[in-house]
Each structure stands twice: as C-alpha cells, then as structure tokens.
Symmetry: C2
Subunit: 193 residues, 2 copies
C-alpha cells in the first residue's frame, strides 16, 4: 500500500477556504480532514478528536516543545495547531489528508513536509474579496482595509505553492482540487510505481 | 491569453492509446488533436489536414531536413510524423493539444518540448496486455512474444514521463487524464499567473 498525500489548502482570509473544504467532504473517498489541536474550551456539541483535540495550555506548550505540531498560532488568546501524529498516521494508513490553514501556517508545514501538495485558493479578484469580507458585516472600515492589505501580501506568497485555484464557483473550485489530487496520484515519482 | 499545454499520450502497443484518445474527444472543450503528416496515400473519406497532412516523400524528407517535425518514424514503407507548426500554432492560440504517439517518438518530442506534459498509459497488468495483443487475433506467437518484450522495455522508460495512468477502464483512464490537464492548468509556474 502506498502512502497517502498531504494536501494543504490555504489562501487569504475571506477567500472561502472553509466553504470549499466543507464542499469537498463526501466527494473524495480516500480523503481525511485534519483535526486541529486547541486550548480553547469545547463548545456545546463539540467532540474531542472529532472537531478538535482539546488541550490544556500546558499540554499544548509541551506539544510545541516536543515538535509535535506541524504549525501553530495564537488567536484571541488561544492556541491552535496541527498535530503531526494524526497527519503521519493518516498518511501511513494510505489515506490522503487535507489541512485547511492560514498562509503563514501552510509555509511552516512546507518546511516540515516539503513533499506535501500546497494549494493556494485565490479570489476571482480583489474587489470580490473585499465584497466577501464586507459581506460578513461585522468589521469596521479600518479592519476591512487591514484584512485586504494582509490578503495582498499573502497573495504575494503564492509562488511558494504548487497550485493556484481560483474560487470563482465552489463546485468549480472543488473540481479543480479533486483533479489536482487525482493527478498527483498519477505522478511518476523517482521511487517508481 | 495564456499558451495552451502540449499533452503527449503514449504507452506500449496494445495498451489502448487510440481508444482512450477517441473517448477523450468531446469531453474537453479546449483540447485539439494533433494531426500527423504521412507519406501514405489517403484512404477513401480521409481528408488532408483533418485525418492527416498527406505529403510526398520529397516533401516529407524536406520537413525532416528543416526540423519541421517534432518526431517521425518509418512504418511499413511510409513515413509518419508530427508537424511542429500545427502544434505551435495551436498552443499560441491558447488551446491545449494532445499527441497520441509511440514511446520512442514521445521521448523525441520531450527533447524539443521539455515543457510538455508526458503521460504514460499503462496496462492493468502484463497478462492483460498479452490478452489485448492476442485479442487482435492477427499475430503469430513469435510476433506476440516480440511485442510483449518490446512493451516490457517501453514500460522501463516510464520514468521519463510526468504521469502514469493505468488503463483499467476507459472512462476511469479518461477521468485521470482530464484531471491531469485541469491540475496542470492550476500549476503555479515561475512566470506567474
């Protein structure tokens, strides 16, 4: 049995990573979704090991120190990260695993897993991205402008990725991502087939 | 408008290149089929520029001398080759072009077009390939054994290709090839997107 593929789906905030990732669920038989570790408290209905691996702050910093996270970040006072073990066990079982993470986190994963497939999700245009960020209706003008300027910087990091997928329509974006995974499984690798 | 992709579909004799190529027709909007040049006489119903570019022997050797063919071979006393012009014009028009050729010819194309996408079509097994060659019912035992031994040698050249697609079922093989083309269009290239 051959090892699975690590697929990293990333892109600027507001581009629709979560929506595309959810739409992929159920479309691809051999694909497992990475479960993040977090120090935030479980919400009602959330299950440990399903929605997140819930950790204490001590447990989390211990994971950091023992290099058990492929990437992590602090957000609104809580840690979030990708446990290396879960990813490696999934790959060894022959299944593909998909990580949906921020641009900086994805580049950290690339340092540890250069053989991963790095997909950058692009908005159809910056105007469209601005519309989507505004559409949330919860942010001030200054926040929107900051988010957009971060997005522009992040799009500049696209060259470190293997693929760029435009999220013009969700089903089209999903089809492109599915195609990338199928194609990667057909790649002739030096190890032979 | 970006340039199209050159897709080369190759593989051992009997693997089903022609069948898969025909099945792809109509499935992919942006895909043009390469038209070969030949010195053989047109058969009834064959049109110049559609089925083949029909050439005299002098015209053909002239094309060879002027490097106007990406590859060529002699088969049963006639020349067959891939005109470079038709391929380049198609790519410049922004369309993808697919070449269905023998393994040695594909490697010659690779020398001239290293940026092409080289797909090796594999039989599900050597037994299956033997069955397909025998199934034609026209060859002697010695010929069948010769063809199989050539096929084994050719499969050894797979490492020079970008992708290997198993032709277990035609629609599955087509889906894999379509996926490869979609994925290649999403690739982040150094030239930028």
């Amino acid at each position: 049995m051959s090892k699975g593929l690590l697929i990293v789906l990333s892109g600027p905030s507001g581009v629709g990573k979560g929506t595309v990732c959810n739409a992929l669920r159920g479309k691809m038989d051999n694909l497992v979704y990475s479960v993040s570790a977090t120090t935030r408290n479980p919400r009602v209905g959330e299950e440990d090991g399903v929605n997140y691996f819930f950790k204490s702050r001590d447990q989390f910093t211990d994971m950091i120190e023992h290099d058990q996270l492929l990437e992590y970040a602090e957000y609104v006072g809580n840690y979030y990260g990708t446990p290396r073990d879960f990813v490696e066990q999934t790959l060894l079982s022959g299944k593909d695993i998909i990580l949906e993470i921020e641009v900086q986190g994805a580049l950290k994963v690339k340092e540890k897993f250069p053989e991963g497939i790095f997909i950058f999700l692009l908005p159809p245009s910056l105007d469209e991205l601005e519309g989507r960020i505004r559409g949330r209706g919860t942010e001030s003008q200054a926040t929107i402008e900051h988010r957009l300027s971060v997005a522009v910087d992040e799009i500049g990091l696209m060259e470190h990725y293997d693929y760029a997928v435009v999220n013009d329509q969700i089903d089209q974006a999903c089809k492109r991502i599915e195609s990338i995974v199928i194609a990667e499984h057909c790649k002739v690798r030096s190890s032979g087939i």
